[in-house]
């Protein structure tokens, strides 16, 4: 089977996400789809998966034009989309998941478990998967869950499989397993689109690549002709800045110290310290416990043991209000769920933290609220039309800056940022880095939590690496490089 997408256009409102993109794939090929966040990869694949419709352009299968109005059309044409958030029901057995929505029934109208188990086994044999179809999905590793989805796609005669960042949350061992599986599929003539940010993996497993940037296709070709550096350059449009950002500042006294901080499940025995003006990175893979650790430090998870010292004073932080009062600011991950209030306007979102302080006698001091907001707006270079517009009218980068503004107006001593550049475009990313450095220059102690080693290397003075809830290493200077961080984060020494 040969798949071609030609001249695909798509815009959301005024935002042109795809501006005439071409991509093609034949059976037995693995094509890497590369691009930064917001380059249009997901939109392109969502069009292919029938999740959204394109504005114009054609999709050809074996030379014949075809239209996908919904995911079912796409699936019937033999295209399966394995999303990052796996689409399995944990509380059902493997074979039940395999046939979900298309259960086989016997002549009395009851479920025919026997045949479903048999058919599941047949598919597993074909791809060399040794799993018991009656096992519960919840007991499986993430990589195996992916295999279940792949097997399900194959059972539905999928000949093209789109995999959206399948290796992001996997350990090195699991990644090897996924690659082995991909090679098996390749030998069966299945074509795959592999979306990933990890260029080394791309070079290892793929044989073709297509790079998107700002909705344009900027490069395509054979993997054997390029290096990871070439690919990175295509993705960002210029030589990638990987060097640590220059800074000239003084590190002051200790502001935060954790001693043997432990909670029931997420992190254990964490000791660290942070000084004024220092930027400390904390990195690791999904599920390393870093987010939960700093939620505890901020007061969002009051059930911890161990000691927290701020300015050498022992403190018990049992609520977020307490965290705020102690001078901690916390910019959470997943902005939409944790960072903004979509029903409120920009100004209110930007002053949510300081509202109590802005209340004089009984009423909020509107004048002061506006002045304080304007100061942050100017210093963070937030682009907006009216302060009274809804926060959702802003771009991701500007929304993130509002979340930052809300915290900076509380004059924090300690700033904790979890995934500070999640879902913001390249330009805004650099601006946020500049802000972080500026704040550190002003003496704020900053903790940056990130899974992007690149980000850690660029902005942090030193970084801790976590693995399964424990700190497994500290890197700084020459040691702070992607290889070392990755090795520690995956449990290596």
């Amino acid at each position: 089977m040969k798949l071609e997408m030609q001249n695909i256009y798509k815009s959301f409102g005024a935002n042109n996400v795809l501006k005439g993109v071409d991509i093609s794939l034949s059976g037995g090929e693995i094509c890497a789809l590369l691009g930064e966040n917001g380059a249009g990869k997901s939109t392109l694949m969502n069009i292919l998966g029938g999740v959204i419709n394109s504005d114009s352009g054609t999709i050809l299968i074996d030379g014949k034009p075809i239209e996908f109005k919904n995911p079912v059309d796409s699936l019937e044409a033999g295209i399966a989309f394995i999303h990052q958030e796996l689409n399995l029901v944990n509380d059902l057995a493997i074979f039940e998941n395999m046939f979900i929505g298309r259960e086989l029934k016997n002549k009395y109208g009851f479920l025919d478990a026997k045949t479903m188990i048999k058919k599941t086994k047949e598919i597993f044999e074909k791809i060399g998967l040794e799993l018991n179809p009656e096992q519960m999905v919840r007991d499986l590793d993430t990589s195996y869950k992916q295999f279940i989805e792949i097997a399900r796609a194959l059972m539905m005669n999928a000949s093209i499989i789109i995999m959206d960042e399948p290796t992001t949350s996997l350990t090195e061992h699991e990644i090897k397993r996924v690659f082995a599986m991909m090679n098996v599929l390749k030998s069966h003539g299945v074509g795959m689109v592999f979306i990933s940010h990890k260029l080394k993996e791309v070079v290892e497993i793929c044989n073709k690549y297509t790079v998107l940037r700002d909705g344009n296709m900027v490069a395509t070709g054979e993997i054997k002709d390029v290096t990871t550096d070439d690919l990175a350059k295509h993705m960002v449009g210029h030589d990638v800045r990987t060097e640590s950002l220059q800074r000239d500042k003084e590190i002051g006294n200790e502001v935060l110290r954790l001693e043997r901080l432990t909670d029931a499940t997420h992190f254990r025995d964490i000791s660290l310290n942070l000084r004024q003006g220092e930027i400390l990175g904390v990195t690791g893979l999904l599920g390393d416990g870093r987010s939960e650790l700093f939620q505890a430090v901020f007061g969002d998870r009051p059930k911890y043991t161990g000691d927290i010292y701020i300015d050498n004073q022992q403190v018990k932080i049992d609520s977020t209000t307490k965290g705020l009062d102690l001078g901690i600011a916390y910019v959470p991950r997943n902005r939409k769920e944790n960072g903004i209030i979509k029903d409120m306007n920009i100004l209110e979102n930007g002053s949510l933290v300081t509202l109590k302080r802005l209340q004089k006698r009984f009423f909020i001091d509107r004048k002061k609220q506006n002045t304080e907001f304007d100061i942050q707006k100017d210093s963070l270079k937030i682009k907006m039309e009216k302060k009274l517009d809804l926060i959702t009218s802003l771009s991701g980068g500007n929304q993130q800056k509002i979340v930052l503004a809300k915290w900076l107006s509380s004059n924090p001593k300690i700033l904790i940022m979890d995934n500070p550049t999640q879902g913001v475009d390249v330009g805004a990313k650099e601006e946020i880095y500049d802000i972080i450095l500026k704040l550190a220059g002003q003496g704020v102690g900053i903790i940056v939590l990130s899974s992007e080693a690149q980000e850690i290397i660029r902005v942090c003075d030193r970084s801790l690496v976590m693995y399964h809830g424990a700190i497994v290493g500290e890197v700084s200077g020459e040691d702070m490089n992607e290889q070392k961080i990755m090795r520690l984060a995956t449990g290596g020494k």
Partner: protein, 345 residues
Amino acid sequence: MEKTKVKFNFITWFKKNWTESALFSTGVALFVMVILQTVALGFEFDSFGEWFATWANNWINILRNNAGVGIVALGMAFVIISGGIDLAVGSTMVAVGAVLMMIIDNGPNALLASTGITGVPLYIIGIVVAIAMGCGLGQLTGVLVTKGKLPPFIATLGMMKILRSVTQHFMQTNSPKVPTGFLQIASLKMGNLLIMPIIYWLVIAIILYIVSKKTAFGRYVYAVGSNERTAKLSGINVGKVKRKVYALIGMLVGVTAILQVSRIGSMDYANAGSGYEMDAIAAVIVGGVSMSGGKGSVMGAVLGMLIIAVMNNLLNLLGVPPFLREAFKGMIVIGAVLLQKKEEN
């Protein structure tokens, strides 16, 4: 910067406001209802003066009869905007009403009979206790919701059952008399008009409007209802905000109990206030408050209450059989929510 003159286009103006502002569409709905009601009232009068007197009198009746639920609806707006619900308002009113009557009774069985306090001081004690008790019961609900982590529906359903049942049990053997002096609270005439309940409603509505717009607490209620997680991660004590909201509606229920007792002079413990919760919820929903929290306004709660009140009056004027009237209420609630702007994913 020079402003380009745009010719005022009523239709575009109307469409824009209709889709963008829940308050606007509620206002328009109310306006239409009032026109219908005015037409239904008829014009067969000898003079304009006579017509106006009848019309105005009809309105005073509408407002006075709905002031009690109207005050509860103001509190309900806060509760629902904060993401909760309160089913216990009717039962709370009965419980508070019973205690209030036991206090202000000047017979030998009254709670404070032995103290010898009578008249206005006794009434003041009664009023303070009623409001404090409402507040306390609300606070208890709030604690169940925030510390006990009960869903508000369950916590208030339980409170609803407990309060009415306990009140009915204890009031089997007690039949306090409400002294005539106390009735003045609702029936004191302004000029020649019986409008005290309307004034209470109006004053409370204005105060709560200001609270919702201009105080940190008011804004926190919206923040918590729209996104509790973000509110918590912004250093807001979410539990405290919720407890305050339930305490607030409790206080307002206390006020309604005072009004009820002073208007009627007695209380039917089995039936008084039953359906208040649903009427108050219906009013705020019609007024554009979203059940999922974070959206709506105090103004909306007033307008919504008025729509339901005017509709009742209209059905009455048109001679719609009493059993069918609730059906219209049901339709208007469903209709209002159907019209509300749906969130796109």
